[in-house]
Amino acid sequence: MDWSEDTGLRDGLRSLPVPDHGPDYLRRRDEALAAVAEPMHNGDTSTHGSARLRVRSRWRRPVVGMTAAFVVLAAGLAIALLATGNGGRTKQVSVPSKTAPGRPIAGAMPAIVGDELSGMARGADGELWAWGQQHFRDAMTAELLERWDGVRWQTVPAPPGFIDGLAALSATDVWVALATDHGGRLAQWNGTAWTAVRAVDFVSTSATSNTLLAISSSDVWAVGLVARFRGQAAASPAEPSRSRMTTLRWDGRQWRSVPTPSLGPGTADVSLRLVRGVSSNDIWALGDYVRFRRKVIHGKVSWTAPRDEEFLLHWNGRRWSRQPWPTAQVSTGPRDSIALDDLAVSSDGVLWCAGRRWFGPDNAGDLFVPVVLRLAGGRWQIMASSASPSLPAHWQAFMPSSISLTSSRDVWIAGQNAGGSATRAILWHWDGAAWNVAALGEAREPEHVAARSVVALTPANVWVLAVRNSNSDTLFQLDSFFLHFDGTTWRHVPAAPQ
């Protein structure tokens, strides 16, 4: 079996045995369920085995502590949900019916069954670039790269490897970050051909956010990780680190490594996954790692199971420094947590972030609300969120994936509504005073439509990349399309023909 392709790995994993339950499992489980069923009727406290369970008769939904921003946002959302088509500022965009899968390709290549564009970045002079993968019927994949030339989306020959980031200075000066089985590559497109530049041990790390940033032709940044895999992941931070984050900078002649700050003891699997910025002395990078905690029992040192944590770095033109995580300033309780999904920087240096917010662990991990944050002058401010998990279900289910802005009065956030058995793409827009919501039509069950990326070039030139999955049980019935806003109306723009 060829393990080098995802196909082989996927097939191998799916053929792995999963042990059956032990002989008494079902009886024990059903007895345990029966034991807690009776007290549930009484809304009482129940004990089963060694686990003491607090049974809630009804999920409490306190309506307290809403921020002014949330009230504004909720009002905007209400408009969106209740609009009959002639009120509010909601834009309802119809999602066209799914195109037929299985388009044949000449020659020996298998049929394409899906195009999955995963990222989009602005180029020069109104150009846009989008990248992702084509899926074939036998589960093979190939890279997909497209360019908007002002008139239509056209396919550009993709370099070999997984594209994890793209930064375009012009149609003839484009950088991509590639992940290959031989490590990371940074490749440059001159309008005709790709040239790869080997960067020592560089491995880009994200297929869903941009790991490249171009400020000028002599100031391009790449973030990711340096991998030193030898077939083992770190078992504890006591071992030599197998990977660390990296930032590389292109000065017009070569890529150079730029030092990053230490994250302290007990960290492992450190990587950076996106970089954003507007000038050479104001650049932000977002990453994540796992943190082990040391404990000593009877004189024996061991490490607790790691926790996932994220971190934020800022480049001020001279060095990277770690920035305070927003939870420290905006949390409402000691167990609140915030995860960021994307960043955008305005020309006046204000950082905008879209992410999700949890209110402690006592909720089976299911109670998050979307959150939009703003960092200016070292102070975090919540621009949209709830102070408690008390929002309507359809509001809470919004999962942001991308944020883009032209100013602090023109901020766009794309994502999806994850509730129910069908998902749909959702856009939020901040006009400086209020949030407005644009729903990209109703997905028909079991269809899933997700907005993967938004790029606002001007307030009247906004692009959304969306991916539709017609079968949630497989990754391969996918097709991608674009939506364009001209300041007045949205229109559907097809991806490049394959």
Binding site: S15, H21, S57, S204, A227, F229, S271, F368, A418
Partner: protein, 197 residues
């Protein structure tokens, strides 16, 4: 009886309806729990605890994700608690457990396939290689690999289950793929680099 009807009955306290719901997701939940924990007894303990936890917290499930996604999330968080209760790091799976599992499974799935002896030996060997390679991953990486590559969840769905951003799922998947491929890849058929440099 539809899932919605079973769910409604379970919300009213009908534990048999809830057990029926669980049975429909048993195989993928077993896969997730076993890949994370690496031990059948721990898998059963975690699944039983997750079943009770999900049943008693059913009122907190309000349809923002699918019921299946929510069940996977509850199971995953319970598995992490089991790992923590174990007191050590969740990184490695006991080699004896892997071998025993292979033998148990070998009398089931493989014999059903009626493979020739040589194919059977090759397939068992490949499975052992892969099981061995999975041991090199952290519990978090094993969960991502299981959810996305083995069970076919999208990155967004996996992010929902694991309570992390989709970008984190993606980067973990990359870490995991890199480890697995370096453990398993053969010199031929390696993707990438053709025509570059």
């Amino acid at each position: 009886m539809t899932e919605d009807a079973l769910l409604a009955a379970a919300r009213r306290g009908d534990h048999r309806a809830f057990a029926t719901l669980l049975d429909g997701y048993d195989r993928p939940l077993r896969a997730l729990a076993y890949r994370v924990l690496g031990d059948r007894d721990d898998m059963d303990d975690a699944m039983q605890e997750a079943a009770v936890k999900a049943f008693t917290n059913l009122s907190s499930f309000d349809g923002r994700s699918s019921f299946g996604t929510w069940l996977h999330r509850v199971t995953y968080t319970t598995c992490l608690n089991v790992l923590r209760a174990r007191g050590g790091t969740p990184e490695s799976i006991d080699a004896d457990d892997v071998g025993q599992t292979e033998i148990r499974a070998g009398t089931g799935q493989l014999s059903q396939a009626r493979l020739p002896d040589s194919d059977l030996a090759a397939e068992v060997s490949e499975r052992l290689d892969l099981e061995q390679a999975l041991r090199a991953l952290s519990a978090h990486q094993r969960a991502v690999v299981c959810l996305v590559l083995e069970l076919g969840f999208s990155l967004d769905q996996a992010a929902n289950i694991l309570d992390v951003p989709a970008g984190t799922v993606s980067s973990r998947l990359w870490h995991a793929r890199a480890v697995l491929r370096r453990s398993l890849e053969t010199p031929s058929g390696v993707r990438g680099d053709h025509g570059l440099e």
